[in-house]
Symmetry: C2
Subunit: 388 residues, 2 copies
């Protein structure tokens, strides 16, 4: 049983087909798990083998994947059984045969062997060999790059999707609260991470969570490293712990980052925290339909430049449906030059990570663009937490 | 600080360079996170952006990735700071520039712009566009497919690696024990998953765990679906719960699967469990250096065919270092036709998943090939667990 109504999937397909027609693509070959999920409901941990959702302008979507995953597809998608096709296991991680050869034969068999195909050239799981095998097996097809096509359709969320991200935000707050309540100088980093992950997956009494796209922590001497996992070492004293987590509800994410100081924070760190908080709230106050992503970054830069601070990396990105290792949508980024205009029901993870040696600090929240401004999905205080 | 000794990395590099020379590859471009980790120690949750480890025959390895991840590379790898290169953030998920263009320029700058390059054509994260951008930017280079080159080097584990997998096995047993002790008909699936994941990440008093490549459960009406996550629903009564998890220690995995029946198991399921256990132990008794992967599958088939049972999917694969969504090495598989000969210090996840409607059952363990036979990394009873 699929998660959303059939009407919602029909709407997603209609918007996707509009984008296909605009690029003169007749058949879209989707290999990224989040886009497969978005269009068909398919939701399984099978994306380590090649699989594909096929969306043509003139027929119902098709799923092709490993034979043993057919029950996963019928359990989670709305597709008709005749549109769910499994390939034999001998195609799995073989040096002699490739699943794209099977898929190409299936496209031929269904009369799609001379169409204009769109492929996701820069999505993970569409490897260089996938493309070569498809090209070699479908010589009469024309191939077009459809990277990001579905991602850009996804950038505007439905009300049902917003509600899931709102729930993910509640889960994120619970997980971060667990982190702040659990962390001590003596606790092993792995035990802290275990408690956070438990909170993320348990969720609330009303709804459970899922494995998020990631959980990272930079602690002490490694505080300036944004994307590390934990170690077995204790957290330690007189250190900052930068924690970035994602509440995840039905694969929809709300990112959330906070810093915790173990001890009495140096004055410089308190000052940095105040500046970044000011920056966050200035960005949020700038959010409104019609503004551009670049303008949000400009608002941020206006705050920190007064203090001589520089942040060389983007300050946020569109967020939503995702599987590890990511929850970002690979579309709009909050950075100079990004002219994407904000629209209602876009969602962004605004992440102000100041990774600068021992004086590192992170603050992030996930927000919804509304008709008039924004709604944050977090209720966590926007402060440097202190545990002594 | 890297996890293994410099001697161990030197040994890995030497074996990799031997394989490069055998294929007449001068420079190997590595994009899969587990292979990057294997060769350089680099271990960060940054593989949602393009990054690469470069191994030439005649110089030290180089890491190129996103600028903000430079501290992650210096914190986890043994590389010299001058061999750790960050690209500007404007290359991240941009429609105008691609990190492979930056990487190509860096290869040129270091005099590698007319070499024979090996690329991992069928590893995730080496997208079709990555290949196109490299080809277009390095017209004087020759490209060869090096898919699996490092994976096949990895198939023989060092003693240090075996010890980590042994520890992962202890963690897997603890996580499965937690599952069996926690599961009840009334518990929500998400709460069960949360407890399992907590156990996996906490590890033992002596060493912690990490996020494994996956955690899947097929319960009740979905018991025949091998790769689903949990829902918010209670587990239920008179159902089988098939749980596959991986203990993970420093990214090294030991896979483990067991089935739990909630209630009084039907006789047919008890019989199936006995047959599969017999099959597992027959396979294990067949393990010895010189035997082939296909022969192990044949031993299994000999057992189940006596009962008219068929398993159309492989019964195992080489396992070790990995990141979500996988812990398999994409090399040897236990299936007909796989002529890979077993050698000491290979490790396999032998997974006997009988996914056949309501009568589904799973049993798996991870084993080491020894000089004379095998060592299992699990001490869990090989039975259908019963909770009533």
């Amino acid at each position: 049983m699929s998660r959303f109504t059939l009407e919602e999937y029909a709407h997603r397909l209609a918007r996707t087909r509009d984008a296909m027609q605009a690029r003169q693509i007749e058949v879209l070959l989707i290999t990224s798990p989040e886009n497969m999920n978005y269009l068909t409901g398919y939701d399984a941990w099978s994306f380590y083998t090649h699989q594909m959702a096929i969306v043509a302008l003139d027929r119902e979507p098709i799923w092709i994947g490993r034979g043993i995953d057919v029950p996963c597809a019928t359990a989670t998608s709305y597709l008709q059984p005749s549109d769910v096709i499994g390939y034999p296991d001998e195609y799995v991680q073989s040096s002699e045969r490739h699943p794209m050869e099977f898929i190409a034969a299936e496209l031929e068999r269904r009369g799609l062997g001379s169409r204009v195909l769109g492929v996701e050239m820069d999505n993970y799981y569409f490897t260089a060999r996938c493309f070569h095998k498809l090209q070699a097996s479908l010589p009469r097809c024309t191939f077009k790059d459809a990277s990001g096509l579905v991602n850009w359709v996804r950038i505007i969320k439905s009300e049902a999707e917003v509600e899931l991200i709102r729930q993910a935000g509640v889960i994120a707050d619970r997980a971060m609260t667990t982190a702040v309540e659990t962390i001590t100088p003596a606790i092993r980093q792995c035990d802290l991470a275990a408690r956070i992950m438990q909170a993320q997956i348990t969720g609330t009494e009303a709804y459970g969570g899922a494995v998020p796209g990631g959980l990272v922590m930079g602690i002490g001497a490694k505080a300036a490293a944004p994307h590390l996992s934990w170690t077995d070492d204790p957290v330690g004293s007189d250190v900052v712990a930068n924690i970035e987590l994602g509440g995840c509800r039905a694969r929809y994410h709300a990112g959330l980052a906070r810093s915790v100081y173990l001890g009495n924070p140096p004055g410089q760190l308190r000052e940095l925290a105040a500046i970044v908080r000011d920056g966050l709230e200035t960005v949020f106050a700038s959010v409104a339909p019609g503004r551009t992503c670049a303008q949000l970054e400009e608002a941020w830069r206006g705050v920190i430049s007064r203090f001589g601070l520089i942040k060389p990396s983007r300050i946020g990105y569109s967020i939503g449906l995702g599987y590890p290792p990511d929850w970002g949508e690979h579309t709009a980024s909050l950075r100079p030059g990004d002219a994407t205009e904000l629209q209602p029901n876009m969602t962004f993870h605004v992440i102000l990570g100041m990774w600068q040696g021992a004086l590192s600090f992170v603050l992030s929240e996930t927000i919804l663009v509304t008709e008039t401004g924004h709604e944050s999905f977090s209720r966590m205080p926007r402060e440097l937490f202190v545990v002594s």
